[in-house]
Amino acid sequence: AQTVTQSQPEMSVQEAETVTLSCTYDTSESDYYLFWYKQPPSRQMILVIRQEAYKQQNATENRFSVNFQKAAKSFSLKISDSQLGDAAMYFCAYRSARNNFGNEKLTFGTGTRLTIIP
């Protein structure tokens, strides 16, 4: 079974600075997908960024980028130019790329609460 570990329960960053959230995972599969979801106080689950394991290039979405290290099974999220609206719980998630039913579930880490200091 796959596991996802987020070792930082809480992080804080000064507004406009850069912060990196850590995520490691354990799997015996070679092909999979990794995600970062954001959960603000409103409780919504918002997809921030995703990475396909077969792609060597790190995904980027505006101020959000990942550092994907497949051999190390590491998937960190970097938020540049932090804004007050970035304050939220951030969840790392894993999904198998095996294309048959039963593998589509997301396995989540325990989350990191990010606070933005004005």
Binding site: S42, M45, M89, F101, G102, E104
Partner: protein, 114 residues
């Protein structure tokens, strides 16, 4: 237009009662899910359905019974509610199988058992 909508958003009830949470998606997806987020914010899959058929049942007590009348709806009925059922329940949907599409989540239903 809300893509994945859940009702109600809040549900407060007493131990031993039976309650239902409804979920509808208008994205045309054929796979829907229920996830449970506990008091420590941990999210875990409970069920998934594809075209009204149960695919994943992740060792959930049989007091929980999902029902999918059509591929756009997945409801969750819970019998004999217990204190430990207090949580936020999220519905989600995606298009499966095939080239991967992300899961879209509803806003969650906070269930509080008194």
């Amino acid at each position: 237009d809300t893509a994945v909508s859940q009702t109600p958003k809040y549900l407060v009830t007493q131990m031993g009662n039976d309650k239902s949470i409804k979920c509808e998606q208008n994205l045309g997806h054929d796979t829907m899910y229920w996830y449970k987020q506990d008091s420590k914010k941990f999210l875990k899959i409970m069920f998934s359905y594809n075209n009204k058929e149960l695919i994943i049942n992740e060792t959930v007590p049989n007091r929980f019974s999902p029902k999918s009348p059509d591929k756009a709806h997945l409801n969750l009925h819970i019998n004999s509610l217990e204190l430990g059922d207090s949580a936020v329940y999220f519905c989600a949907s995606s298009q499966e199988p095939g080239d991967y599409q992300p899961q879209h989540f509803g806003d969650g239903t906070r269930l509080s058992i008194l």
